[in-house]
């Protein structure tokens, strides 16, 4: 990975971050970079978005639900 690529990557991330700010997504730079990486790996952006949404909002789950919920 040479300097050029790193530069490009950084710039891309900058741009994406700015867009993200304009769109008021509330993501920080680090989270965004993770998401971009995941996208690059071919994950469905819709799924990622769902994860973001769900986890952000998720209130503290109760201890008993933790056993029941995921098992299903």
């Amino acid at each position: 990975m040479d300097a050029d690529a790193a530069k490009t990557a950084r710039e891309s991330l900058d741009l994406a971050f700015q867009m993200s700010n304009i769109l008021d997504t509330g993501l920080d730079r680090h989270t965004l970079s993770i998401l971009i990486a995941l996208c690059d790996l071919g994950l469905n952006p819709e799924a990622l978005a769902a994860v973001v949404k769900e986890l952000r909002r998720e209130p503290v789950p109760l201890p008993p639900s933790d056993a029941a919920g995921p098992v299903l």
């Binding site: 990975m1 710039e11 769109l23 008021d24 990486a37 769902a50 994860v51 973001v52």
Partner: protein, 870 residues
Amino acid sequence: MEEEDQQKVADLIKELVIRLRSQNPNSESHPPTPNSPEFQSSLRYAFRLISSRLNPSVAPDATAIAESTKRRLATQGRSSQALTFADLYTKFASKTGPGSVNNKWAVVYLLKIISEDRKNGKTQLDSSVLLPNLGFNDAESGKESRVLVGRGNKEKGWNNGVLLVSKDPENLREIAFREYVNLIKEENEVSEEVLVRDVLYACQGIDGKYVKFDSSADGYALSDLIKVPRATSIMVRKLCELGWLFRKVKGYISESMDGFPSEDIGTVGQAFCAALQDELSDYYKLLAVLEAQSMNSIPLVSETASSGNYLSLRRLSVWFAEPMVKMRLMAVLVDKCRVLRGGAMAGAIHLHAQHGDPLVHEFMGCLLRRVCSPLFEMVRSWVLEGELEDVFAEFFVVGQPVKAESLWREGYMLHAGMLPSFISQSLAQRILRTGKSINFLRVCCEDRGWADAATEAAAAAGTTTRRWGLGYGESDALESLVDGAAKRVDKHLLDVIYNQYKFKEHCLAIKRYLLLGQGDFVQYLMDIVGPELSEPANTISSFQLAGLLETAIRASNAQYDDRDILDRLKVKMMPHGTGDRGWDVFSLEYDARVPLDTVFTESVMTKYLRIFNFLWKLRRVEHALIGIWKTMKPNCITSRSFMKLPHAVKLQLLSTLRRCQVLWDEMNHFVSNLQYYIMFEVLEVSWSHFLDEMEVAKDLDDLVAAHEKYLHSIVEKSLLGERSQTLYNSLFALFDLILKFRSHADRLSEGINELQARTMESSLPSRDKSKTKKRSNDRSSEPGSWISEGRKALTQRAGEFLRNMGQDLDTLSKEYSSLLEDFISKLPMQQHVDLKFLLFRLDFTEFYSQLRPNDVCFFLMACVEDLQLT
């Protein structure tokens, strides 16, 4: 490699969860501890979510997504941010090569969704707080995750939910409903290709999957449940106008064609339908091409299209621009023509063709050529063959069954409603007359020569007599054809009328016999039917009169006339009442047969009859006056035989005679001048005008008009018109007076003759016995005969007789003067200039004009003085 990727993904997700959880405002003070149960469950949850959706639901088109994002920002009123975003995106997209983001569309899409989610989360924050149950279940979660999450949340928010729901039930329902609708819409998102295909279907009048005919709104519309941008749905609606128009046109055609032939839409209507059908088949061709193109998928905005032949709604709207104009026109025409037929329909379409747009103009031209072709075919066959091929009553010439004699006048009419506006009124008249002439020739004249004339006309006009030779827009050709045909056919018709049917000869014969132009014939007739006509009308036999007429013809120069003409001359007895004399009912009539009865119709013959009666009366009066003259010639009476009478009686005789002669002279002056006027100023002048007009007449209409004019001028000038009614009455009073005078004069001359005979007998009883034998026989039968009473008594009786006669003559003369005065004073009031000439003629010496009404006695005294002088 796979393994590695999997690992990478797992790590990244883990990290993501950590990041998210650390940010989560709800997680309060908990530091992210990787091993806590909450973290584990969150992680599992995240994996689940991700694994549940492997494929995105939209096309991977970064540019389109960016565009839509930008538009969203713009519609939210954040246009500067929208611009910034667009700018950033272009920069972002331009980063290529190593180190750049490969899956750009995914990134952009991700941002978009997160942003939307956050917005929804914000606006519906309440709902998630108030209604954890519903909110989670229906709206917020994705399809697959819903069950899971819902379940998880059901338990946790139950208590809260119940409490809050009961607080605000209305809001709850509303929100629930809105969210349900949103959900359905999300599920029903359709792609543009499908819409294009649907629109194409709709434009053929077929309901598509999403675009359906909505009968309540009377148009095609997208179903409400489908989520498309407003712009798209508007465009779809606009495009589907074509479908609506198509339905209308198609409906009209099938309605008309199905109704045929029971419901007569007529040949023009059929032609119109056929023309529309052809237009529609062109339209079908276009649709077929478009449909083929619609199979190609729409390339994404970022891709360059592999083949240009794809269809988007926008492309479709360009394709539809021209058919839309045509279809609109057709729909307008269909609306307009629904109730019209035949010529009226063609006229209505013609009005629409007056358009500045060359496209419209040309289109309408084509249509009209088709529509009008049956009409022009009718014109052609009417003008050249006289055939009225008009089963559906569409032509502007209407025929009706009539008798042959009124064929020309009433057989064919123009139907103004069916006259299309591109055929002028005068041309229509010519067309009507030409066909009428042909029919007249065929029916009334039994002539075949017109066919040659028609063929010649067609050849001259440059069109052949074959079908479809004419068309809309070639009005010059039509005009020249009609003119040529009219000229030739009319000429032929006139030739036939003049030569074969001898119109002129018949007119002359009518003038000679009905208008008493043949002097010797009238004289003979008057002489031989006179005694007969003095009988009461009901004792006269018309057969006998017919015999007398024949005798009169044979005795006069009329015998050299054509036999055919003489055969048509007949005696007619008019209906008579009691007390009518033969003179009142006798008349002549002339039998004008087909085809000449077109000119000499019944009403015309009635006019002739009136003129004949007038002239006949005039002749009779003239004849009577001549009769008086014959018996009363001065040298007949003043013979030496009176020398022996006493002076007083002789003077009285002379004065009476003189008075009678003066009165006669005055009457004769009047009658002969009237006679002269009628013959020379009226009949001959009118006849000569008529002859001139006959020369220049181009068709039968002209001829009929000329004849009408001729007859009218005679009627007007000879005081038979309506305006000269009173004058006519006083004239007849004069005539009657003159006839009365005649009987008086007859009596006078008879008395004088007798006196003369008596005197001669008394002086020369032996002379001329044989001559007076009959008279003496008569006398012997009379009891108080003059001869027995001797000379004195004779003188006395003669004196008495003469005095009586003189008194009668005085009364007559007074009456005559007043009547004549009346007549002459009325004469200048007449409008007709020729009657002024009559006055001038009657009063040439200004004799009457110097007489005032109260000066009449002067006139008489002058007469008396005159008498006494001699």
